[in-house]
């Protein structure tokens, strides 16, 4: 395999003053909030992340916006520069722009932000996301989604939908792994147990059983209605800066030990291994760059818009045995109190699918866990190392970030 990432020797070493680190996160509750405006959500979550980082807007010199998918108008607007104005950074901000790779955007935004910091092009980067999937115009959104990672001239006339994409992948996964409908439904139930511990989760107050899942309407075989991600409004933000700049601000920060990625297709029907996607390749690249292996991890946050999306990833990344992903979730191993916590915010399936923000929510939950800043009932004890996995469009890519806590002298 051709090595596409920077080799370990070219990376900024741990402890270097320009090593890029996460220093704060912010989030708004996910759910349906028709009265919450898009710009208000972006502003609020920016301030929350900066306060968590013990920073003020004036400390930020670069703003990266994660795209929204709720309306054509807001997609076309140059919101990143509006946020410069909203935060009082006119003429202070050096750059503001958008990064886009669908659901994996947050992972690629980390790559961009950390690269800018390591190379000295930015001092502190604020990454912002807000979405109104829970209360946007449904017909406009459905239309937008059939143009999202689906080739217009070759597939649109078939009537493909995003639930159909999930159905196609799940069908192949169940065929290859021998997973039963009950085992697939158990993944959703395991995620709900985490959501109940997350005050920002859409379904924190709603129980879920395997019987309920399998009793719900079939939407796109073999996916039932309760196996589809609930569309939600939400917002999330994080702040990255150099280790040198972070040191005095809080007792710990989170660095990137390595990353790996693989873009396996654009149109799902072009993927030659739908039951595996790009996860094995992406994982191998991340292990090689970091020197880590799966046994170095204590938890993971992996994109889960459908159960099979995350079980396929877990198997490719070596977090569980091949073919055993759904049964691994069903065993309770990934649930609260289990050996290897997975998707500790409840994931997209239970915390809410906030569009491109679903991966962002998983990312900041991973950072929050490593900062030991989750609510006590959800905090995984003494975690030092975790994995973030993201994917976008029709699961066109597999993105892996390996994160580790670094103790530092300052602040809280």
């Amino acid at each position: 395999m051709t090595e596409t990432s920077a080799t370990a020797s070219l990376r900024v070493p741990a402890g270097a003053p320009n090593d890029p680190v996460f220093i704060g996160v912010g989030e708004l509750e996910s759910g349906r909030f028709p009265d919450r405006s898009f710009i208000a959500a972006l502003t609020e979550v920016a301030i929350r992340a900066l306060e968590d980082a013990t920073m003020a807007p004036a400390d930020v010199d670069t703003i990266i916006l994660i795209p929204n998918l709720h309306s054509f108008d807001d997609q076309a607007d140059l919101i990143f520069s509006r946020m410069v104005e909203e935060l009082g950074l006119s003429r202070q901000a050096k750059a503001s722009f958008m990064v886009h790779s669908g659901g994996s955007t947050s992972d690629n935004a980390v790559r961009v932000a950390s690269g800018l910091i390591a190379a000295g092009h930015a001092r502190t980067v604020l990454v912002l996301q807000a979405e109104r999937w829970g209360s946007a115009d449904l017909s406009e959104m459905v239309t937008m989604l059939t143009a999202n990672g689906i080739p217009q001239e070759w597939e649109r006339a078939s009537g493909i939908t995003f639930n159909a994409v999930g159905g196609l992948i799940t069908q192949r996964y169940m065929y290859e792994s021998g997973s039963t409908p009950e085992e697939m439904a158990s993944v959703c139930v395991a995620l709900r147990e985490w959501a109940k511990l997350n005050p920002n989760a859409m379904f924190r107050n709603r129980d879920l059983t395997v019987e309920q899942v399998l009793g719900s309407k079939m939407v796109s075989d073999p996916i039932h209605a309760l196996e589809c991600p609930p569309l939600a409004d939400g917002a999330a933000a994080f702040v990255m800066t150099s280790a040198e700049n972070a040191a005095a601000r809080r007792d710990a920060a989170v660095r990137i030990a390595g990353s790996g990625g693989c873009v396996s297709h654009y149109a799902l029907a072009q993927d030659t291994d739908i039951g595996a996607l790009g996860w094995k390749i992406a994982g191998d690249r991340a292990w090689k760059q970091s020197g880590w292996s799966p046994s170095d991890l204590q938890f993971a946050e992996v994109y889960d818009s459908y159960a099979a999306i995350t079980t396929i990833a877990c198997e490719g990344l070596g977090l569980c045995e091949p073919g055993e992903g759904a049964r691994w979730f069903a065993s309770g191993a990934t649930s609260p109190g289990g050996d290897f916590p997975m998707n500790t915010n409840g994931g997209l399936l239970s915390a809410g699918h906030t569009g491109v923000g679903g991966g962002m929510a998983l990312l900041i939950e991973g950072v929050r866990q490593l900062l030991h800043a989750a609510e006590p009932e959800r905090q995984v004890e003494a975690v030092e190392r975790g994995l973030i996995g993201g994917t976008g469009g029709t699961y066109m890519d597999a993105q892996v970030l390996l994160l580790e806590r670094v103790e530092q002298g300052g602040g809280r």
Partner: protein, 142 residues
């Protein structure tokens, strides 16, 4: 070097084939490799000397789903309908519609089943330019 395919007409050529009951695969006249979906330059050798060949029409059903609810706008009257990802004998892949079995549903299908191109009337292709496939039964001509 001849340019047989106008840069704007890829889908028109493919869809015209469907309307004539033929499944076409783009083929590079320089390196000979098949491309699907059709491309503007050959992704293997970057040539723009590209033509078409007729597919055998047989392939393997990699996976499938039956859309029963929440279709895109304009597809409400099509429900339910089945979609499959198919690897043709020529080792290229496409998304297609699947014909229902004799019972009117898609229970006869399974991953890795052999399927074949099922031509549809031109009027239907004009409305929805998409390739259709059906299961190859044990007594089907090979």
């Amino acid at each position: 070097m001849s340019v047989e395919i106008p840069l704007s007409g890829l889908a028109d050529s493919f869809n015209q084939g469907l309307a004539e009951g033929r499944l076409l695969i783009q083929s590079c006249n320089k390196c000979g490799k098949p491309n699907m979906y059709p491309r503007y330059r050959c992704p293997f050798c970057q040539s723009n000397d590209l033509g078409w060949r007729q597919a055998t029409g047989r392939g393997v059903l990699l996976t499938y789903t039956v859309v029963r609810a929440v279709p895109p706008l304009g597809f409400e009257d099509d429900l339910p309908y089945a979609l499959g990802s198919i690897r043709l004998e020529e080792d290229v892949q496409l998304l297609a519609r699947l014909e229902p079995g004799d019972e009117g549903d898609w229970a006869v299908y399974a991953c890795d089943a052999t399927v074949e191109f099922a031509p549809r009337p031109a009027a239907e292709i004009d409305k929805r330019p998409v390739a259709w496939f059906r299961l190859v039964g044990e007594d089907a001509p090979s």
